[in-house]
Symmetry: C2
Subunit: 118 residues, 2 copies
């Protein structure tokens, strides 16, 4: 059970830009970048929308070649395709993430870190 992903050379610049132009998806990418190397399941993003809506946005990111989704049991483990994106569009992802980094107007994942009791 593997999900469809474009090859690196099939990743299209306008599609990637359009996909990153949505605030919800930009927030997902930002969060993935901040947890680089860690595979996250969809539930990590429930701050950003309903389960159904996230399924939609995560599919867009995957189909554009921005993320990879690996099926592990009932989970889809999501990672950024950083190596592929850097190969295809050098510097693009870094500049987008850096640009998003200091913008307080953007939505963000967070607010449900595990609380350490007192």
């Amino acid at each position: 059970m593997t999900l469809p992903h474009p090859n690196t050379d099939q990743i299209s610049l306008p599609i990637v830009l359009a996909v990153l132009g949505d605030p919800t998806r930009l927030a997902i990418v930002r969060y993935l970048a901040s947890k680089e190397g860690v595979a996250l399941n969809c539930s990590q993003f429930l701050d950003l929308g309903s389960k159904t809506n996230l399924s939609y946005h995560l599919a867009k990111l995957r189909e554009a070649g921005v993320t990879r989704a690996e099926v592990v049991g009932t989970n889809r483990m999501i990672t950024l395709r950083r190596t592929d994106l850097d190969a295809r569009f050098p510097g693009l992802l870094d500049s987008v993430i850096a640009a998003a980094g200091d913008d307080p107007a953007l939505p963000a994942v967070g607010g449900h870190d595990i609380e350490v009791p007192a």
Copy 2:
């Protein structure tokens, strides 16, 4: 008669990405980047669409803060806001233009350079 433009600090990342995610507008930006320093009027882009449609796309680019339009007689002279974009989102424009540079699938302006007669 000046047209409305956002200030540099009002330029929004998701809006810029969404605006650059349209192939017609990406082609306009590419062409402006290739003629940096030269102000072009709208007619230069008629390869890419009808007059009305270009008016629409050029307004989107201007309102997003990607281009500047200066009224000169009956012309709107269009330039890339490179300095402002570089200040706001360092490296972004360069990586987008570089990424677009080698993609033959993208539309491009061209085909009506002034021919030098033999």
